[in-house]
């Protein structure tokens, strides 16, 4: 099953990746091969099988709603590439 260059570009946009031309070419080839390999799951008729979200038979691990201290603001911002006035700083949404 081949995946087209257009599909790769569409997926890259969804995945927020600014791929280079070389990466686009390589991923078009590799993803096609990997999709071929994983597509065998479609051989199985599983219409009546319920999907599994995870393998443990465990639902809703509730905790008591007790207020706790949050991280101090300076810790929250400690790893930010840019911070200012207690906020994360990012480039303008539109240039």
């Amino acid at each position: 099953m081949a995946i087209s260059r257009e599909e790769v570009l569409h997926v890259a946009k969804l995945a927020q990746l600014a791929l280079t031309e070389d990466e686009i070419a390589q991923l078009t080839d590799e993803l096609g091969k990997i999709l071929d390999a994983v597509s065998v799951v479609s051989e199985l008729d599983l219409a009546d099988v319920p999907p599994t979200l995870h393998p443990l038979d465990l639902m809703n691990g509730w905790e008591d709603d007790v207020p706790r201290d949050s991280l101090p603001l300076e810790d929250v911002l400690a790893n930010a590439p840019q911070a200012e006035n207690g906020l994360f700083r990012v480039p303008a949404w539109r240039q």
């Binding site: 995946i3 599909e7 790769v8 569409h10 997926v11 890259a12 969804l14 995945a15 927020q16 990746l17 600014a18 791929l19 280079t20 990466e23 991923l27 590799e30 993803l31 091969k33 990997i34 999709l35 390999a37 994983v38 597509s39 065998v40 799951v41 479609s42 199985l44 599983l46 099988v49 319920p50 999907p51 599994t52 979200l53 995870h54 393998p55 443990l56 465990l58 809703n60 691990g61 509730w62 905790e63 991280l71 810790d75 929250v76 400690a78 790893n79 930010a80 590439p81 840019q82 994360f88 990012v90 480039p91 303008a92 949404w93 539109r94 240039q95």
Partner: protein, 484 residues
């Protein structure tokens, strides 16, 4: 005079005894490991960084996907270069509370995606048995460090084989615990329905001891459960009353090397001599559909988990004229080829029009795989197979072919998808390289795995010290000697 500690042979349990009896101080023990790191890690590159600590217990190494407060944590990725967590992962906090001082952070495939540790942005780790070969992955740093005597024990993380497979290739013991038995709070997320933290050590008893320190419910991770029974350190050398199932598909899969089969069959024969009842069973669809199922579920969840690396709150940032350009360039510059491949694959599998055919279908295949394992484990206490189809392969051999690399986890993936615990113990050599035996148990059946693993380990008498280092190491001496 400073005591001489043979870190190649000292178990964590014996190290703890020496500390308790006052025959060794924690500082002396730590410096023995730091000396070993200085001597051997230049060649192996197990550690991304070592740290100072004044804890008074047996020290430990942690895979670099585990957040450590104040200590850089990169997950083997450039995008997290310089990231210093402001909190400890629950497992890091638990080992610290138990007095296990941090030795350092170990190398990993980027975001734990890989089977050779070659995908680390900081360079590959080498196999202690043969530095031209890979240590397995993604937890190659932790596994190689334990075998090379650079750490008495370590923690890894396992999504589809990242603890068991490196332990097999490095000749030590690695446990992937039951899904839900160990907190993932503060562990860099890869595929949340599969990720588990687990111990790596030289012996089954060490692995059981470390498991007892980190396991159990954590209020900070709602997918954790209380263990139904306390951890028991294994003692029995008998396997009387144990029923061992040999799943045909896991033992006769295409690509299993002859030498691997020989070593595993010998171990199964020993199990019978120890009193176990051995019989064949079948997992008809788990192997054929396990890998395809895994390579849909894991990348899909990874694409979602890795969306958080956007250059805003932490990690590296690339320049961009607009917000979106900054994010897109940050991610292209920060992620290596394997995370990009998986993000793309997963985004595709989750995208409109493909979700049902790929991710949805894979979630249903997992239900079949769970059911097949349930049926096999109704007849048998544990299932057995090789951990890896091959012994350690050469650095570079599979790096250019993603599908060849993915096949490394063919035999570990099915039980991971089923959420079951599995342990790898070394069971012999093939071509001078270790072969791992995989034991799979029922949910929360870790005690059973420890019991069977320990009895087999005693009977197999595998020497965990790589042959090239045996000359300088006393095979009988587990206690340190004071130099005159």
């Amino acid at each position: 005079m400073a005591p001489v500690v043979d870190t190649l042979r000292l178990t964590a349990e014996d190290a703890g005894d020496l500390l308790r009896r006052g025959e060794l101080t924690a500082a002396e023990l730590r410096s023995a490991y730091l000396d070993a790191i200085a001597e051997r890690d230049g060649e192996l590159h197990c550690f991304l960084r070592t740290v100072e600590s004044d804890d008074d217990g047996v020290p430990i190494a942690l895979k670099d996907v585990i957040s450590t407060k104040g200590v850089e944590t990169t997950a083997g990725s450039r995008i997290l270069e310089g990231y210093v967590p402001v909190f400890d992962a629950t497992v890091a906090a638990r080992v610290k509370t138990a007095g296990l001082g941090l030795l350092g952070k170990t190398n990993t495939d980027e975001f734990a995606m890989g089977s050779s540790t070659e995908n680390s942005a900081y360079g590959p780790t080498r196999n202690p048995w043969d530095p031209l070969r890979v240590p397995g992955g993604s937890g190659g740093g932790s596994a190689a460090a334990v075998t090379a005597g650079l750490a008495p024990w370590a923690l890894g993380s396992d999504t589809g084989g990242s603890i068991k497979q490196p332990s097999a290739l490095c000749g030590n013991v690695g446990l992937r615990p039951t899904y839900g038995s160990i907190s993932r709070y503060g562990v860099v997320a890869f595929a949340s329905s599969l990720d588990q933290v687990g111990p790596v050590a030289k012996t089954v008893r060490d692995v059981a001891l470390l498991y007892s320190i980190i396991a159990g419910r954590d209020p900070l991770d709602s997918t954790t459960a209380e263990l139904p029974e306390a951890v028991r350190l294994p003692e029995s050398e008998s396997l009387a009353g144990i029923r061992i199932g040999v799943p045909t598909e896991l033992n006769e899969a295409e690509g299993i090397e002859l030498g691997v089969t020989d070593a595993v069959e010998r171990a199964i024969g020993l199990a019978e001599e120890l009193g176990a009842e051995v019989g064949e069973c079948s997992l008809p669809r788990s192997v054929r559909y396990g890998m395809p199922c895994y390579y849909l579920i894991a990348p899909a969840e990874a694409s979602s988990n890795l969306a958080r690396y956007d250059g805003v709150r932490y990690g590296q940032r690339a320049d961009g004229a607009s917000y979106q350009e900054m994010v897109d360039r940050t991610r292209d510059a920060g992620f290596g080829p394997e995370p990009k491949r998986r993000i793309m694959l997963g985004t595709y599998a989750l995208s409109s029009g493909y979700y049902d055919a790929y991710y949805g279908q894979a979630q249903k295949v997992r239900a079949l795989i769970i059911e097949e394992h349930r049926e096999a484990l109704a007849r048998f206490d544990v299932l057995v197979s090789p951990t890896s189809p091959t012994v350690a392969f050469k650095v570079g051999e599979r790096a250019a072919d993603p599908l060849a690399m993915y096949a490394s986890d063919l035999l570990t993936i099915p039980s991971c998808l089923a959420g079951l615990p599995g342990i790898s113990i070394p069971c012999g050599l093939s071509e001078g390289l270790p072969v791992g035996l995989q034991l799979i148990g029922p949910q929360f059946g870790e005690n059973l795995l420890f019991r069977v693993g320990h009895a087999l380990e005693q009977a197999l008498e595998f020497d965990t010290v790589p042959e090239r280092w045996r000359a300088g190491s006393d095979p009988t001496g587990q206690t340190p000697t004071r130099s005159a």
